[in-house]
Amino acid sequence: MKTMTTGRRRMRGAPWLAWAVVALVLLWAVAPGAFTGHDPIAGVPADKLRPPGAEHLFGTDAVGRDVFARVVHGSVHSLSGALVAVAVGLVAGTLLGLLAGAADGVADAAVMRLVDVLLSVPGLLLALTVIILLGPGTVNVAIAVGAGSVAAFARLARAEVVRVRRADYVEAAFGSGGRFPAVLWRHILPNSLGPVVALAALQFGAAILAISTLGFLGYGAEPPTPEWGLLIAEGRNYLATSWWLTTLPGAVVVAVVLAAGRISRSIGKDRP
């Protein structure tokens, strides 16, 4: 019993593995050349469909391109896309939530009913709708995925704002002569952000997944861009003979998504 609880506590205390995964992927995005010498776009036809080995860590694809190099070079597309998506969701959602929570009354009800409608539509469907409006492309996909998470951010931010707004220290701030915008900015917003930041980390993982999904469906980057979802989609045709084309990039996506979720949970716990 005792060892179990301490063991669990240690796991909870240090998500170092998760941070390591995220750090590695970030490094890939910043300096892909340091991790692989192969070209992600130009292939060597003679080396096509090689299984994973010392020369090609993740094997090669049908035109002889190194899959590991494609994953490494592709990280920048997936990460920046996810970042944009989270930024869109975080900023728009938090603003909406803050407005709703602080305004009360009719504005609150209107915003939250809108959020209810957004939440009732499946995220992927919503993202597809936005893409059809905006047209395909890396940035548009990111915006579409971000738009899908606005509702979740708005609802959480509103709940936090409503909770914090009732706190004694907020009343004390008004009692100290604070004007509404100042109190909102200085006290309510910082104290409401904890869970929202945790959700942002979680959404980061979800966004990578959603962007990859849309890439897989062909709405994202154009080939031969080494985007993760596209990589997996291209490998699909060779699933029977060359498992590594889908499995290994897929494993990278799974690792990053899990790491983001793990970090999100630790952020949620650390905050009071």
């Binding site: 004694d168 701030a173 100290s176 002569g177 006290h187 104290n191």
Partner: protein, 520 residues
Amino acid sequence: MSLLDLRDVAVSYDGRRAVHGVSLSVEPGEVVAVVGESGSGKTTTAHAIIGLLPGNASVDAGTIHFGPPGRRLDLTGWSDRRLRSVRGARIGLVPQDPANSLDPVKTVGAQIGEVLRVHGQRDRRRIRGRVLDLLARVGLPDPETRARQYPHELSGGMRQRVLIAIAVALRPELVIADEPTSALDVTVQRRVLDLIDDLRAEYGTAMLLVTHDLGVAAGRSDRLVVMKDGRVVEQGPTAGVLAAPEAGYTRRLLGDAPALSARPFRDPPPAARPAITVRDLVKEFRVGRRAFRAVDGVSFEVARGTTHALVGESGSGKTTTARMIVRFARPTSGKVTIAGAPDGRDFRRHVQLVHQNPYGSLDPRQSIGEIVAEPLRNFGLGDRAARRARVAELLDRVALPRDVLTRRPRELSGGQRQRVAIARALAAGPEVLVLDEAVSALDVTVQARILDLLERLQHDLGLTYLFISHDLAVVRQISHTVSVMSEGRIVETGTTRQVFTEPRHDYTRELLAAIPERVR
């Protein structure tokens, strides 16, 4: 031979020692009060006896013996399972918080019946009969109805009676009462304590009474155990300890307890002009379709530079009145005039509120320096350097060291936090301070320091206080004049001396009867 015997019991939380070798004993039929401030280890000691410590705590040393000769048990190191045969049947527990100690989804009758069932009673009709007996015995009117009610349908005092019924259901030899009345109003508190006394006399039960309230301990116990920092600093017969305390800490505790130290009354200075005038104040709330009058025609005056106390039990409307005075709530009708107070936002430079709970009233993300400087920033008083100087001056005023400037509220103790809240209230130079139960959440020695501070500030700065409190002993110490509130009305107003020595209203008399002998 004593009924309960603790020898050198030591308890630690996560390896950190909280109780260092406590020894105490309880004779059959005796009431032993364990007193001490929060963090002194008194509750931990009580819980160690019946094995109700939280999972991260462990009893490291010492022995616990319980029972009369012949049926004597060594409870030391017993498993949870074995202790179950003792809990309830031979040692009853009255927990601290009546609001959270009952299961909200079970009827009161079912919860009392559960104790009987767990300990072997199977006959439904007999359980039912016994439950009704117990409910009647603890003084709940109409037991048949009560047994079918859920906890939320009962008041705090009634819930505490139910908990007492559960504790005494099996006529245990010992009842451990952990702050049994701390969450209750004074008059309810007295009735509950009287009930416990009656039951004790009737069943011959011994009691271990854990309390921070020296007034309660003094009035109700045969022997007193004083704890501090996990150690027993003094123990002996209650009368003896109160009359001639040996340990320095006990003396300080007794000196600081407003309930036990009769200071002279503060008489109001003659003919001062009124700083606060309240006329026919009414506040109505809508409860469903009906209007509920929380404040019903309240009028009083507070002279400049004096302290006026608003006394009453929970629900009497005193906090609502205070909120209307500081303009956090709008009166339904009636008028509050504060002499010299400007309208609009500048009103807050003149009138300040200090909240009850120093844990909730400070933004956890700001440093103490930022918190105290907040009113200065809001009103644009002084430049950066001037503000910093003013904050330092304010910290000196409330006797806080300069190094708290960069710290966060959670790093400070309750008393220090309340000082910060007072410093913030003073920052913009107000003339009227409304203190809503400002010392109620603090330990007695801390409370005494804060009251001294308030008195000194009033003297130095000529402040006018409106002091909201349920604690008559504190009110007696700090206020010049008093208004007693009950059900939204003021039933009696006068100088503190008049109200305390010649109460005219029955309710005031009842309130006064509930506080210990010495200060009356």
